[in-house]
């Protein structure tokens, strides 16, 4: 684990690689390694190379805490962390913060909505916003008989209350509301109940195995109604499992993924995917993550760290941390850049910059939360495509 070789700067990927959330690790790695590649190709940060270093949090606080402490102790050149998913963030974010290491987390937990930790940064919207957006999507699609089916895991339970509340606020008809135990061997009775409630649409989030089992049993009872899902359904593992259960055509015909809106056609995004193609050595089948917003956000996180270091003229985490919003938030006269290389050049010329990344503009509030708008995406011709964008008025109505 001695990556602290001459002059390299370590960005830790601190996520689960094993256990139920084992997809978190590869997902974040698919963001980190392209950034590493592009930054180093542009000459590195202040003469240093960036190195991504995966550590398994096992998705469990009791395992994550010693792993985090070991990581901090054994990696003197640790400059930033991608990590602390919803499974471990509350336990490990304080540890990194205490060591003055900036943490870019993908947790959706509401407990970080008003985080006062100076080292905590969150690019993606928190879970409740996600839940509300899913309800808003049902309204927008004109689907009035709504069922909600959420797993009892922490990630799904983050967005479930807001989704259910949103359905009521929007005067939609909530025909049934199910919390299902994840990883069960069958859900036939739950499915039977759902089918007899005859929903037009199911708003749902659950892990791959649970969703696959549930939907396959639902299909056995007849046709599957429309589905409103969240970015989890864009994870390759989820799609693989559910397609195995109900077939690709069924899934693609029904699934409306409500995801943080990032127009994945920008220069920043194209730069990211071009680099993603080349990291097959570090991440298996990297292109499976090409439209995964968590990966995209993690890519942006590393670029932001590097730009902040350039702007601060320092690789010291404590120093560059305060420069993070200065390279992302809009300011008068700032040059909008979409890649690390462009940002580095602009900064070298003494200009102010605003990095608009692959996930879109990143505007941190005073609690270091950014958050995006939301769009409804559908899977067509081998890719996710935006079918409509939810306006902020539409989302607000759900709260």
């Amino acid at each position: 684990m001695a990556h602290s070789g001459s002059g390299s700067l370590v960005v830790a990927i601190f996520h689960a690689y094993s256990g139920p959330n084992a997809a978190f690790g590869p997902e974040a790695a698919a963001g980190c390694f392209p950034a590493e590649k592009l930054i180093n190709a542009a000459g590195g940060v202040l003469g240093h190379k960036i190195v991504c270093d995966p550590t398994d949090s096992k998705g469990d606080p009791a395992d994550a805490v010693p792993a985090a402490n070991r990581l901090i102790a054994s990696t003197s050149s640790l400059v930033g962390v991608l990590g602390g998913g919803s499974d471990t963030a509350t336990a490990v974010v304080p540890l990194f913060a205490q060591a003055n290491i900036p943490v870019f987390s993908t947790t959706g937990q509401a407990s970080f909505d008003h985080s006062t930790s100076p080292y905590f940064w969150r690019i993606l919207s928190p879970d409740p916003a996600q839940g509300g957006a899913m309800a808003a999507a049902a309204k927008k699609l004109g689907l009035t008989r709504v069922a909600t089916v959420f797993g009892n895991d922490s990630s799904a339970q983050g967005s479930a209350p807001a989704a259910i509340a949103g359905v009521t606020k929007l005067h939609l008809h909530l025909v049934t509301n199910q919390t299902i135990a994840i990883g069960q061997l069958s859900y036939r009775s739950e499915v039977q109940k759902l089918a007899s409630a005859k929903p037009q649409v199911i708003i749902s989030e659950a892990d791959p195995q649970t969703s696959a089992t549930y939907l396959s049993e639902l299909r056995q009872l007849g046709t599957i109604p429309d589905l409103i899902t969240d970015p989890v359904s864009q994870e390759p593992g989820w799609r693989k499992a559910v397609i195995g259960a109900i077939g690709a055509s069924n899934l693609n015909a029904r699934d409306y993924a409500v995801v943080a809106y990032a127009p994945l056609t920008t220069l920043a995004y194209r730069t990211y995917t071009a680099a993603l193609k080349t990291i097959g050595k570090q991440v298996s089948q990297p292109m499976q993550w090409n439209s995964d917003l968590y990966s995209v956000a993690d890519y942006d996180s590393v670029v932001v760290m590097a730009l902040a270091m350039d702007m601060a003229h320092s690789t010291s985490p404590k120093v560059y941390n305060t420069f993070i919003p200065k390279v992302t938030n809009p300011s008068a006269g700032a040059v909008v850049v979409h890649t690390y290389a462009a940002g580095k050049v602009a900064l070298a010329k003494g200009k102010r910059i605003q990095y608009v990344g692959a996930a879109g503009a990143i505007i941190f509030d005073r609690w270091h939360n950014a958050g995006q708008g939301f769009a409804i995406e559908r899977y067509k011709n081998g890719n996710w495509a935006v079918s409509s964008v939810l306006s902020s008025a539409e989302i607000k109505a759900a709260f």
Binding site: E190, P208, L221
Partner: protein, 295 residues
């Protein structure tokens, strides 16, 4: 009534899958007296062998059959490599439980290291759903029920009317006397392990079809249900295992339909504990409580 009938239908499907696995578990246990907590790993292993066959174009039922035979071989190999040796090494039954659980952990995690922490699904269509007296069952589920019924009948006939079956039953109650009768105990023990592996294989493919996705830990996750059904019926009794499977299958589905689906497994386990409080040997067991293991 509709809800009850469909819950019963689902219960029968769960029970069929459970029954095949539970009888496999109990048969091997009754003959060898090894409480085999690595049974779930054999299930997972055969499930993945069937997956490899299935994804290379073999039909799911043929994959099930070939996978089941491989399961038998794996099961015999585990006994030959590990369990039998430990028994002849003089380990206590108590220690044997730990040996099997350690073996299960090693196998599961070796599988996991190869397949990774992701999910897999067979390439098979569940077929159209049939409505039988209010029970909605797919073609696939009906085939599973038929396979289970055939397996149970074959096991019953095999145990009751063949010499080998009599030898197994004899070995299960008195190993040293069976040896004194000239029963080739090691061969019979190997047959028991083989049969148990075959049933683990059939049970696992049926299970993985039913859950539609599976991972490296699905077999071991299901194992607790399998053992619950076996212990409920009385370990060592094949009929007991079938009844135990029915009780567990119906209890879970009826709980899910009428009460709280999240607690359906809990209800099955509480039934198990209550039965053991009243009858410590389980519902149908005829086995004496203290026997030594046979390898």
């Amino acid at each position: 009534m509709g809800v009850l009938m469909s819950a019963i239908g689902f219960g029968i499907v769960t029970a069929s899958i459970l029954a095949v696995s539970s009888v496999g578990f109990t048969l091997q246990f009754s003959v060898t007296n090894v409480f085999n907590l690595s049974f779930g790993s054999v299930m997972t292993g055969t499930g993945f062998i069937a997956y490899a066959l299935n994804t290379s174009g073999v039909s799911i039922w043929a994959s099930m059959a070939i996978g089941a035979l491989c399961g038998g071989v794996i099961s015999v190999a585990l006994n030959w490599l590990i369990f039998g040796r430990f028994i002849r090494h003089g380990i206590s039954r108590f220690g044997m439980v730990i040996v099997t659980i350690a073996t299960g952990l090693i196998c599961d995690n070796t599988i996991q290291a190869f397949v990774g922490p992701t999910f897999y699904a067979y390439n098979a269509q569940p077929g159209k759903a049939f409505n039988l007296a209010g029970m909605l069952l797919t073609g696939q589920e009906l085939i599973i029920i038929v396979i289970a019924a055939v397996m149970m009948t074959a096991t019953h006939v095999g145990l009751k009317s063949t010499r080998l079956g009599a030898a197994m039953r004899g070995l299960s109650v008195n190993a040293s006397l069976a040896r004194a009768c000239g029963v080739p105990t090691r061969r019979v023990v190997a047959v028991a392990w083989f049969a148990s592996g075959v049933m683990a294989g059939i049970g696992s493919v049926a299970l993985f079809l039913d859950t539609s996705t599976f991972a490296a830990t699905t077999g071991s996750q299901f194992l607790i249900m399998v053992i619950a059904a076996a212990v409920l019926g009385g370990v060592g009794s094949a009929e007991g295992a079938v009844v135990g499977a029915l009780v567990v299958g119906l209890a879970t589905e009826i709980t899910a339909a009428y009460w709280n689906p999240e607690l359906k497994d809990v209800v099955a386990f509480v039934v198990l504990i209550l039965v053991l409080l009243v009858r410590p040997q389980g519902m149908f067991s005829q086995l004496s409580s203290e026997r030594t293991a046979v390898g």
